[in-house]
Symmetry: D2
Subunit: 374 residues, 4 copies
C-alpha cells in the first residue's frame, strides 16, 4: 500500500471531504464533521447545490462556542470537480449512490485519498452476489476483497484493521441493526441451525431524498407496509456478516423491511431458536461480554424497552434479547435492535470509522449527540 | 335454548344496544349501528358519559338523508342500569373489558338477550388457557364451550352457526389479521410443520382509551417498539384458531406486536416455509378459493401492495402471499395482512356477526365505508 | 339557455362524470359519486391512469349492500377523449387545474353538459382580479359573470339559483372556511370596519398530488410553516365573498395559509373587532339564525371546541365565535372554522352543489359520511 | 445583595442543580447541562423518579469523548430534600409548576442560591396581573420586582443585568417567539398604533408531561385546534414585554395558541400594520440591526422560509418579516418566528441565562446543538 495523504492543515486538523453532500446521509455527515474537533471540512460536493454556501442550505453549522469561520465560506463543488478537489483531503466520505461510488472510489484511491463509502458498492465480498443484488457488474472486484467492512463492534481488531484501511465499506442501515443483534449469538453457538427471520421497519429518510409521489407526505403519512419482500438488496449483506460470525458457514435467513411513517429510525425484530443444550441466561451474557467495550451499544434488560426514541439523534444501537415462548413456541429467541438509520446506520458510523482510520478515539465528534426525544 | 328476544319495533328495525359505548370500539360500533338500515340503537351505556346525549359526544350521527330523529335524543345510560335496559334489545354488543364482559354476558343471556362480546372473555375454548392468558379464573367455563368464535370467513357454515348463536366471541384484532393470513394455508397443508412467526404492528387505538403518560402524544409520536414480547394474550387465541384449521393439531408460533405511531390499522407479516412437495402457485390458489365468496377479503398480487391505507376506515382485510427467498432461505413463505383494528378488528366485525346472527346480509350497514385515505 | 342534457339511464339515475379523476379531489369525488344513490358514474378521465380499471386504483367502490357491478368495469378515459365522452353526462365535475378548466368548461357547455368546476377558473367575477391572482388572461370573461359561486350556505336562494345553473364555480377550500366564519357577521353589521385577519392551516392534500421533494414525507413531517404570505391566490376569492355579504363594499383582509403535517383538514382562525353598539351575544345569535337550516354547518359553543377531528371525513363545517379580550384587546372577535379540505372544501361541496343542480336533497349521498376519528 | 454561593468544585466547574427534573423542560435542561463544559450537575430533583439513577431514565448522558463518570452515579433526589441539597449549588434551575416555584425560589434565595425559574411565577411585574393570569395570590410581590426577565436579546445590557441577578424569570415559550418578532419593530416605531394579533401553534411538549386522555396519541394525532382562546396566561406576559419596548405604553394585542400534532416547536405568525410615514425596507433593517450580535437569532429573507424544521433541536429563533397586502390590506406587516419550545422556549434559554449569570460566553454548552431534521 502506498502512503495515503496525510497533509495536516496548520490547525492540526485533518482535511476531509464529503462527496454526495446533499442527500440525507451527506447532510448528516456534514453536520457531524462540521463539529468534529479533529478534522476540517475541506470539500463538500453536490451538483444540485453547486456553488451555494453550505450554511445557506443547512443553517448555521459552526460550533457557536468554537467558531472557525471557515464553514460559513464553504460552498458545494460540482461532482465533476470533486475528484480533483478531493486530493487535498486525507479521507473522503462517499455519500453517493452505488453507481457513483463505483466510479469515484478507484479515482480517489489512485490519488492516495482514503475512502469511506456509504453506498453498497463495496460491502459484498463476492462479485457475483453483488451483481445479483445490485443488477450491475462490478468493475473492480479486487476492491471488494480489499474493502474493510466497517462495523467496528463486530470487526476483529477493528482499530488496527481500520487504521490501515484505504477503502472502508460503511455498512447498510438494516444490516447494522440485524448484525449487531444476531452475530454475537451465532458466534457463540447459541442459535439453532435453522433459517432466521429479520423483520425490520425504517423511517422514510432511509429511502433517501425523493421527488416521488409515492414518498409524498400525503401518501406515506399514517400508512405502513412491507416492501421488496423476499428481494431486498440488504439480505445478502446481512447473510454475509452473519456468516463471518460462524467461520464462513452460510446462515439462512429472510429479511423483510417495512416503511414507517417517521423520518428516522430502524427497529429490527429478529427471530431464532435457542440451540440445544444452551441456556437462556447465556444469551444476555454473551451480548454483555461482546459489547462490554463498545461505547455505542446499549444493552437493555428486555426487548420491550428497545425503542426508536432511545436512539434517534444518536450513534447508539439499543439492543435486548428474550427467550421463552412456552408453551406455544418453546426456546424461541427474539432479539430487538434499534438505531438511527442516518447516524449509526450511515453518517455516524462513517465518522466512527473515520475516527478509527485516523487513529482518533472512536467516539470523537460523536460524543455530544443527545437524542431527539421527547 | 330458550327463545331470544325478537321484539320488533314499529319501524321493523331490530332493537340493539352497546354496553361500553365510550371506548374506541364502542364509539366505532355506535357510528356503524347509527347508520345501519335494519337495526335501531336502543341502548348505549357508559359511566363516563352517563346521561349525556350521544350527539354531544360523537357529533351528528343520523344519516342526513334518512334522519330518524331518535339518535339526537339518545343518552348514555349508566353501567348499573345497562343490564335492565338491555332487556329491550334483541342483541347487545359488549365493548367492555374482559372483566366486565364476564359479569355482563351471563346476566344478559339469562334475559334472552343475545350477546356479541368484543373482549377476550369468551374467545378461548379452554378455561386453563384463559386463566393463563388473562390472569383470571373463568366464572362460566360452560360459556367458553357455547360461544361461537365470530370470524365468519373461517367459520364453517358461518351463517347457520351464527344464526343460532346466543353468545358470539368477537375475535381480537391481531388474531383476525393473523388467522385470515395463515389458516387457509395451514388447512390446505401448504406450510411446513415448524414454528410460525407473526410479526405485527398496530395503531394506538388498539390499546384503547388511556389517560396514561406512556400513551401520550409526546411519548408515542415518531416512536416504534415491540411490546409484550413472548407474552401477549393474543398468542393463545391465534394458536387456537390456527389449530382448528388443522383438525386440532397444535400449531407452534411466536407472535410479536409492535406499536405504530398511527391511530388505526394493523399490518401482520407472517412467516413459514412451503411444505415439501407443494408449489408456490398453490398458495395464491388456495387463498383465492378460500375467499372467493368473502365480501370483506381483498387479495392483492404481492405483499408489497398490502398497506394500511388500503383498509383503514373499512371492514376489509387486504392480504397477499409470496414464496421465494432463494438462495438465502429457499421455500420461505411470507403472508402479509392488513385490517383496520377498530373495524374488521373490532366493531365492524361485530356488526358483520350481528348481521349473520339476525339473518341480514353479511354486508348490511358496512357497505358504505369508504376508507380514510388519502 | 339551451336545454341541458338530461338523458336518464334506465335505472333512473342521472349520468355524471369526473374529469381530472386521479387528483385527490377527483378521487374523493369518485368515491362519493360511486355511492351516491341517484347518479351513475359514466365517465372518469385521467391521463395518468388511462385505461386502468377504477377499482384497481381505488379498491372496491361499489356499495357492498347495493352493488351495481358497473363500477368494477369502469376504466379511466384519456383527457383527450373526455370532452366527447362527457356528452353522455348531464353534469361533469372538473377536478382539473385552472388552466385545464379554462379549456374544458366552454367545450362541455357547448354540448349542453352542465359543469361544476373545482378549480379557481370561474370563481372570481372580475377578469382583471383573475389575471392578477392566476397570472393568466381569462379567455371567457363572460363565463365569470355567468358562473354561480357554489357556497350554498351563503348563496341567496341557493336551490333555485343552482337548479338553473349551467356552470358552478365550486369554492376554494380556504375561502369556504373563511367565508362561512365571517360572512354572516359582516352581513349583520357586527364587525368593525377595519382589516380582518384570516390565519389558517391546511393538511397536505390541499396542495394536490405532488412528485415533489418539498412535499415528501421526510421534508414535511413534524414541520409547520406559513406559505405564500401576503400573496395567496385565495385572498381575492375570500375578499369577493365577504364583499357580497356587505352589498359590495370592499372588505379589507389579510389571509395567511400554513402547512400542517396532516393529510386532511383546514382550521381557520379569523380576527376582527365587535362593531360599536353591538353586543357579544348577537354574534352567536346571528350564526345560529344564519345556519338554522344548513345541514352541514355545526355550531359549537366556543372556539376551543372546534377541531379537525370533528370534521375530517365529513362534509361538515364546524364553527364557533368568541368575543372578549379584556383588558388586552377589548371587543376582539375570534371565529374559528374547521372543514375537511377534500370534502366540504372540494369534492363534498361539489356533490352538494350537484345535488342542488339536479333538484335532489342537498345531503343526498353525503349523509353517511362518518368522520375518520379517532 | 448578599454574596451568592460560588463554591467551585475541584474541577473548576460551577455546581448547579435542576429541581423538577422529570418534566420535559427539566429533562432537556438535564441533557444540556450534562454536556456543558463549565458546570457540574450536582442536584437533580424529582419525586416521580426519586432515587433512580439519571442514566436509567435518560440513557447515557456523559460526553462520550469527555466522560466524567459522575453522571452515571447521579440519582434523583426527592422534592422534599431538594432545598437542602440545593445549598451546594451556585445556581438552580426551577423546572417546576408556578405553584412550586413560588415556594421554592424564596427558600433557595435565602440560602444564597441563585435561581433561574422556568415557570410563570416571576415573569409578570405586577402582582394583580399575576393573580388574574394564574388565579393565585402572589406570596412575594417584592420578588416580582427583583426578578430579571431573561430574554437576553431584548434585555438592555443583558450581560451586566444577568451577571448580578439573584432571580431570573425565564420567559414563556410563546412570549419568547412573539416578543422576538414584534418588540424591535415596536421599539423602532414601525408599527401602527392598533391591536396586534399573535396567532401561534405549538407542539405537544409545550403542555408538559400529561397522563391525560386529551393528550393521548389517539386523540391528538392528525388533529389541530385553538385552545384557551382569548384567555391564555401568556397574553399578559407578551403584552408586558412589548410594552417595555415602547417605554411602558400599553400595547393592545390578542394571542391565540393552537395545538400542533408534533412534539416540539412553536411558530408564531404576528400581524400589524406599518406606521404612517415609515417604509417596508425599515422593517428588515431594524431586525438586522437589533439582532446583529445575537448568536441565536437567525433572520430569514421572507416569512415563507421560516419553519419548525430550521430550529427544532437548537436554541435558535428563526425570524422574518414581510410587508404588503395590496390591494386587499395595504401596509399589512406579517412577522413569523419559529423556536423549539423546549430549547429557546425553555431549557436552552435557561442555560443561556445561566451562562450570562455566571459570566460565561452566552453560547457555552449550546454551541453543538445540531437540529433534529430531516
Amino acid at each position: 500500500m502506498r502512503a495515503m495523504n496525510q497533509t495536516q492543515p496548520q490547525s492540526g486538523r485533518v482535511p476531509v471531504g464529503i462527496i454526495g453532500a446533499s442527500g440525507y446521509a451527506g447532510i448528516e455527515a456534514t453536520r457531524l464533521l462540521a463539529q468534529h474537533p479533529r478534522v476540517e471540512l475541506r470539500l463538500l460536493s453536490s451538483d444540485r447545490w453547486q456553488d451555494e454556501p453550505v450554511e445557506k442550505r443547512l443553517g448555521p453549522l459552526d460550533r457557536l462556542d468554537a467558531p472557525s469561520g471557515k464553514l460559513a465560506k464553504l460552498r458545494y463543488a460540482s461532482m465533476e470537480r470533486a475528484p480533483e478537489l478531493a486530493r487535498e483531503c486525507a479521507v473522503v466520505l462517499l455519500a453517493t449512490p452505488a453507481e457513483a461510488s463505483l466510479q469515484l472510489a478507484p479515482l480517489l484511491l489512485q490519488h492516495n485519498v482514503r475512502v469511506i463509502d456509504l453506498s453498497g458498492a463495496y460491502r459484498l465480498r463476492d462479485a457475483r452476489t453483488f451483481q445479483a443484488a445490485y443488477k450491475l457488474e462490478h468493475p473492480n472486484p479486487e476492491l471488494l476483497e480489499e474493502a474493510v467492512y466497517g462495523l467496528p463492534e463486530l470487526l476483529p481488531q477493528a482499530a488496527a484493521r481500520l487504521r490501515g484501511a484505504r477503502l472502508v465499506a460503511n455498512p447498510g442501515c438494516y444490516p447494522t441493526a440485524a448484525a449487531l443483534a444476531l452475530a454475537p449469538l451465532l458466534e457463540a453457538g447459541l442459535l439453532a441451525d435453522e433459517p432466521l427471520v429479520v423483520d425490520a421497519a425504517s423511517g422514510t429518510t432511509g429511502a433517501g431524498r425523493k421527488a416521488s409521489e409515492d414518498f409524498s407526505f400525503s401518501e406515506l403519512h399514517d400508512d405502513f407496509r412491507a416492501y421488496r419482500v423476499l428481494r431486498h438488496q440488504h439480505t445478502p449483506e446481512i447473510a454475509q456478516t452473519l456468516s463471518r460470525a460462524v467461520a464462513g458457514r452460510s446462515v439462512p435467513l429472510t429479511f423483510t423491511p417495512h416503511l414507517l411513517p417517521v423520518r428516522r429510525g430502524i427497529l429490527a425484530t429478529c427471530y431464532g431458536h435457542l440451540a440445544k443444550g444452551r441456556t437462556a441466561a447465556e444469551l444476555q451474557q454473551v451480548l454483555l461480554h461482546k459489547y462490554a467495550g463498545a461505547p455505542f451499544v446499549q444493552l437493555a434488560a428486555h426487548p420491550d424497552e428497545v425503542r426508536l426514541s432511545a436512539v434517534v439523534g444518536t450513534n447508539r444501537c439499543q439492543l435486548a434479547v428474550a427467550c421463552g415462548g412456552e408453551p406455544f413456541d418453546p426456546g424461541r429467541v427474539v432479539v430487538v435492535a434499534a438505531i438511527d438509520n442516518l447516524v449509526k446506520g450511515a453518517a455516524g458510523q462513517a465518522v466512527q470509522n473515520l475516527n478509527l482510520c485516523l487513529g482518533f478515539d472512536e467516539t470523537c465528534g460523536l460524543g455530544t449527540l443527545r437524542g431527539a426525544f421527547p
